[in-house]
Amino acid sequence: MSLKTQYNLKSPGVKRLMREACELAEPTEEYFATPLEDNLFEWHFTVRGPPTTEFEGGLYHGRILLPSEYPMQPPNIILLTPNGRFEVNKKICLSISGHHPESWQPSWSIRTALLALIAFMPTSAAGTIGSLEYTKEERQILAKKSMNWECTVCGKIVDKLSHSATSNPLTKEESSLLSHIALKAEEDPSSKVNGTEPVDSVRHRIVNTDIPEIQEEIVRNIPQSNKDRMWELIIWMLLLTITLLIVRRFFFL
């Protein structure tokens, strides 16, 4: 791996990421993640939408940004494939729900983060920042479309996951953890500016340029939400009534 020459292998953080890359090297049915060729601190991942939910059949691709203090600080996840649950191109971070927003633990890993993401997709968006409350039908349509989605770095995502290899069974800790994990969007734009995460500005370069267009195009193709449709109907009916009234005035005076 060319990465090896580039990083200080003695740094525990680098060693850890190398190990995680080895552990996750084989795609499983549910997830696959791998570091970029030229940057061990940015990974791309693909996860399968959880079965028996509106995300079933969907494949969702995104980036994982690892802070230089990883694993002392949590990874940030950015979804790139439109999914109707999370905004795309927006950082979401991993935390335990409720009153302990910063309780990421160094003994969790990228695998934990991906499992949490999958587990969290079907939960209610409940108006939190970075969340989207699309209808079930809209999400199903996005799930179908996601099969054809392409990443500018990784290409087509449809072949990224294995069709047979199941992932390692959950450990005791992991399953208890997933029951109360929460993903929360990063709410604070100014922290990026004042340098809490100085690394990111460098790392944004690769992907972001043409994704908004792709997203827009897809959004245009989605049928509007039910609410919009209702309003449209009402307006048409009003117009019709007015026209009828006017016509009656003219002809049946």
Binding site: S11, P12, G13, K15, R16, R19, E23, E69, P71, M72, I96, H100, P101, E102, S103, W104, Q105, P106, S107, W108, S109, R111, T112, I129, T171, K172, E173, E174, E187, D188, P189, S190, S191, K192, V193, N194, T196, S201, H204, N208
Partner: protein, 264 residues
């Protein structure tokens, strides 16, 4: 990059938590720029500079200096107890090959215990190996002074230093969970021991209380003396040996919110 319009609502609703966290990070940054993770040995009287106009403290520093010669400051980042404790213990054992060997064995068997408790092997392995690596590196140096120098430089490398802290946090959490029945009476707020561990012990930067210290000492089979220095009315500082009745191998100075290492 930042979509201002999108983020405005967050500011509009006055997200105080976010602002506080931001300010806290700013403070943390300033601290990390000015204080070493583990500082050099300094005379006790160097504390006077921090309290030049405070007679209560000056009196207590006098009392402290009658018992202790030196202080080694640690960075106040919430990990200070774990960092100070681990550092002081290993440093002391470098003078005693026997003790170091015993400690080595204790750590060697500790990983299996953590795995039985259900900690994820993949990551525990990572912290365990780094902890052992540091122990081996200082053990294999012939001269005690050189070994101590190496220890000092490893503990000031964020990567190694934080990994040592994480492993001791895991050991502490493991001990608390193994001895749940006993520790559950010390936990406030109706939390279970394992909730407490997930929220207050395992995450980095979470400050340590009595209960952390007791469990950490028990896990490493040692004792610590904590000297409490605050604005209380007593003339001398209050000392606590944890666990009670043990001969302390490490002496720590506690000032509200922070631990430093003391030397006799």
């Amino acid at each position: 990059m930042g979509d201002e319009s999108e983020n405005d609502p967050a500011i509009g609703t006055g997200n105080q938590d976010e602002l506080i966290m931001q300010q806290q990070r700013q403070i943390e940054r300033e601290i990390s720029e000015t204080t070493a993770l583990v500082g050099d040995l300094e005379p006790i009287v160097s504390l006077n500079n921090e309290y030049s106009n405070d007679n209560v403290y000056l009196e207590k520093i006098k009392d402290l200096s009658s018992k202790y010669k030196h202080i080694r400051r640690t960075r106040p980042d919430g990990n200070c107890f774990f960092r100070a404790f681990t550092y002081a213990m290993i440093e002391k054992m470098l003078d005693n090959a026997n003790e170091l060997e015993q400690f080595f064995k204790l750590i060697e068997t500790s990983k299996a215990d953590l795995l039985t408790l259900g900690f994820p092997e993949f990551t525990v392995d990572d912290f365990y190996e780094t902890f052992m690596d540091v122990l081996k590196r200082v053990r294999d140096i012939k001269g005690v002074n050189d070994a101590k120098k190496e220890l000092h430089s490893l503990f000031n490398e964020q990567g190694y230093s934080d990994y040592m802290v994480v492993y001791l946090r895991l050991l502490t959490s493991g001990h608390l969970q193994r001895d749940q029945e006993f520790y559950s009476c010390f936990i406030e707020g109706g939390r279970t021991v394992s909730d407490f561990c997930h929220q207050e012990v395992e995450p980095m930067y979470k400050e340590s209380d009595h209960i952390h210290i007791m469990a950490a000492c028990a896990a490493l089979n040692t004792g610590v003396r904590v000297v409490y220095m605050d604005r209380g009315s007593s003339k001398s500082n209050i000392e606590h040996d944890l666990p009670e009745g043990t001969t302390p191998s490490v002496h720590l100075l506690y000032r509200p919110g922070h631990y430093d290492i003391l030397y006799l």
